[in-house]
């Protein structure tokens, strides 16, 4: 043996990165934790990271026989086809509009509900309203959409009410102009109660002393709401708004696939439902993957920039 270099405080030789004796020590210490991590990491690699690799077929003409790597490269062909297709503008507009209406109508609804509930002094009444309003959140989408279709049909409940008020019955689900209203209204109906929980938690965290002090200063409930409740709620609202804006270009396909029909594709068809139809029903794998990838990239950019802007302006951010 020649001269042995001195080990540093971690037990490593200088310049040895990563250092074997350090790794060995970590392994000995947490062997079973690493064994536990194996199935979890395999799960994420297989079901999240393998599909990211699989998204390469967006740049190829995928054929199952040749596999992901073996299929021929075609560059940006599928993206160009999509950008120049008749559907491009419609899909982008529909996806954006559903989200913009969502931000305008669905987003504030639970905040308003939480503020109203916060003003209720009778505990039993508050509890009753809360319990009741969470309920639709747990009913399956299939049943919810089944109910929507039933109620909006020509002889359904909504039309019965319209007829009672002396107006003409409307065939809602064949009229593209009604789709967004029905989608957003049913979203609010199903989610307003559940969405309010997080705001109620934030309200419960406001220091009661603030209210006491303001009362001594002569502030009424309106002033208290304006100067104590709303500022106390602001950080939660901002965080959730960032998340919401980060998903401005994504709409879940499940509810729309259940709701729509070709007569209302004009307003109801969004990027994710188009990907589903092209990819799974028509088996244009590469083309639909390209559209999906385009959407994923935009979503990623949106979340990252929403977070960046929020961190710069308000010190509230997701990470």
């Amino acid at each position: 043996m020649g001269k042995t270099p001195n080990r540093n405080s971690r037990g490593c030789y200088p310049g040895e990165v990563p250092c074997r004796s350090f790794l060995k020590k970590q392994w000995m210490k947490s062997k079973y934790v690493y064994i536990m991590a194996i199935p979890v990491m395999l799960y994420y690699l297989l079901f999240y990271y393998e599909p990211m690799y699989g998204a390469l077929i967006a740049f190829k003409n995928f054929s199952p026989a040749e596999g992901i790597w073996g299929s021929a490269w075609v560059g940006l062909k599928h993206f160009e086809t999509f950008f120049s297709s008749y559907y491009f503008e419609r899909l982008i507009m529909n996806t954006l509009l559903i989200n913009i209406y969502g931000v305008i109508f669905s987003f504030p609804a639970p905040i308003i509900l939480a503020l109203l509930l916060n003003e209720v002094k009778n505990k039993a009444y508050k509890k009753m309203v809360q319990t009741d309003s969470y309920l639709p959140h747990f009913v399956s989408l299939v049943v919810i959409v089944g109910m929507i279709l039933e109620f909006t049909s020509k002889d359904g409940l909504v039309n019965d009410i319209i007829a009672m008020l002396g107006m003409q019955r409307v065939s809602f689900m064949t009229k593209p102009e009604w789709f967004r209203t029905i989608y957003i209204a049913s979203d609010i109906w199903q989610g307003v109660g559940w969405g309010s929980i997080i705001y109620l938690a934030a309200l419960a965290n406001i220091d009661p002393q603030l209210y006491e002090a303001s009362k001594i200063d002569g502030a009424g409930r309106w002033k208290q709401m304006l100067h104590i409740t709303l500022p106390g709620l602001a950080p939660t609202v901002i965080i959730l708004l960032i998340l919401r804006i980060g998903s401005l270009m994504s709409v879940g396909y499940e509810k729309i696939i259940l709701m729509y029909n070709p007569a209302i594709y004009d307003t109801a068809d969004v990027i994710s439902t188009f990907v589903y139809r092209k990819g799974i029903q028509e088996m244009s794998y590469s083309y639909s993957t390209a559209i999906g990838l385009f959407n994923s990239v935009i979503n990623f950019i949106l979340v990252v920039s929403a977070n960046f802007i929020s961190r710069k302006t308000s010190e509230t951010s997701l990470w």
């Binding site: 079973y32 049943v143 959409v145 396909y253 990623f300």
Partner: protein, 292 residues
């Protein structure tokens, strides 16, 4: 406090209580309407054409017809299998992941955390996943339903937050007593975290109970269909024909009644357990809301 102000606040309270009462009615009435309509005489509902406040003529025929449909029972059976098996895998995998991420001194923890959190922001999309499941030969098997959804990243992070709240001294004393990490997880951490485990069981099992999309794209054989897919056929793609075949006459009103009865049969189990579980659901949202 001035009289004027007290008066205006009193008016506000009354309006507030009224708005919330209206919300309760709007939430509940659709379910009540379906209950009443399902128990009504089908022709009378159609003729009445207005709000139902009570069943019109009493008739349980629709329920009998739904239960005679063998697919409803098969669907129920399959759903129960998927919920039980799926939730067991969910809880095992999620607690493994949460335990790994909660070990603060673990070398590589930040890497694991990044690898998991990144999937919340970027994904390869629906089609590559679909092709993968096809390639793994999972199509038309139970595995396609329960394995791809083995972990919900959101739930994993909620559970990790809850594990991190357990004092380190618990781990250290268990280590000194010769326990390895598996025994620490199963004998100490999970029993100490029963409330959060309950929340996770509830979130996962409700999710599994309500899921239909995976089953629709991965299952070919009707014998494997979960309840939600059968419901979709009855409620949305309108195939009540199998149940009304041979009835003759005007089947339209009866078909409507069958739909209402189906909604009730599929929803009642959740409505029954819901009041008892409600407080756990709320707890889960609260833990998830804690920002790191």
């Amino acid at each position: 406090m001035t009289i004027k102000r007290r008066l205006s606040e009193g008016v506000f309270d009354i309006i507030n209580y009224f708005i919330l009462l209206l919300l309760v009615l709007i939430t509940l009435y659709p379910f009540l309407y379906i209950l009443f309509a399902s128990l009504s005489d089908p022709l009378k509902v159609l003729q009445r054409g207005s709000l139902l406040l009570w069943p019109e003529g009493f008739n349980t025929g629709a329920y009998k017809m739904v239960f005679k449909n063998p697919m409803i029972l098969t669907g129920y059976k399959n759903t129960i299998i998927y919920v039980v098996a799926g939730t067991a895998i969910n809880i095992l995998m999620t607690s493994f992941g949460a335990y790994v991420l909660s070990r603060k001194d673990l070398y590589g923890r930040r890497f694991f955390m990044f690898m998991i959190a990144f999937t919340m922001f970027f994904s390869g999309g629906l089609i590559p996943l679909y092709l993968l499941i096809n390639q793994l030969n999972m199509v038309n098997t139970v595995w396609a339903i329960i394995i791809p959804s083995a972990i919900s990243t959101w739930n994993l992070i909620v559970m990790r937050t809850s594990f991190e709240a357990i004092p380190d001294s618990m781990f250290e004393s268990a280590k000194i007593d010769g326990g390895n990490d598996f025994t620490i997880l199963f004998r100490i951490i999970l029993p100490l975290s029963m409330p959060i485990v309950a929340v996770m069981i509830l979130f996962y099992s409700v999710g599994q109970w309500n899921s239909w999309f995976g089953a629709m794209i991965y299952l070919r054989e009707r014998e494997l269909y979960p309840l939600q897919l059968i419901l979709r056929e009855i409620l949305i793609t309108n195939s009540v024909d199998s149940m009304t075949a041979g009835l003759g006459g005007d089947i339209e009103p009866i078909a409507e009644n069958i739909k209402y009865a189906t909604v009730m049969i599929a929803t009642v189990p959740i409505l029954m357990v819901y009041p008892f579980l409600q407080k756990y659901f709320v707890k889960g949202v609260m833990i998830g809301a804690i920002k790191e």
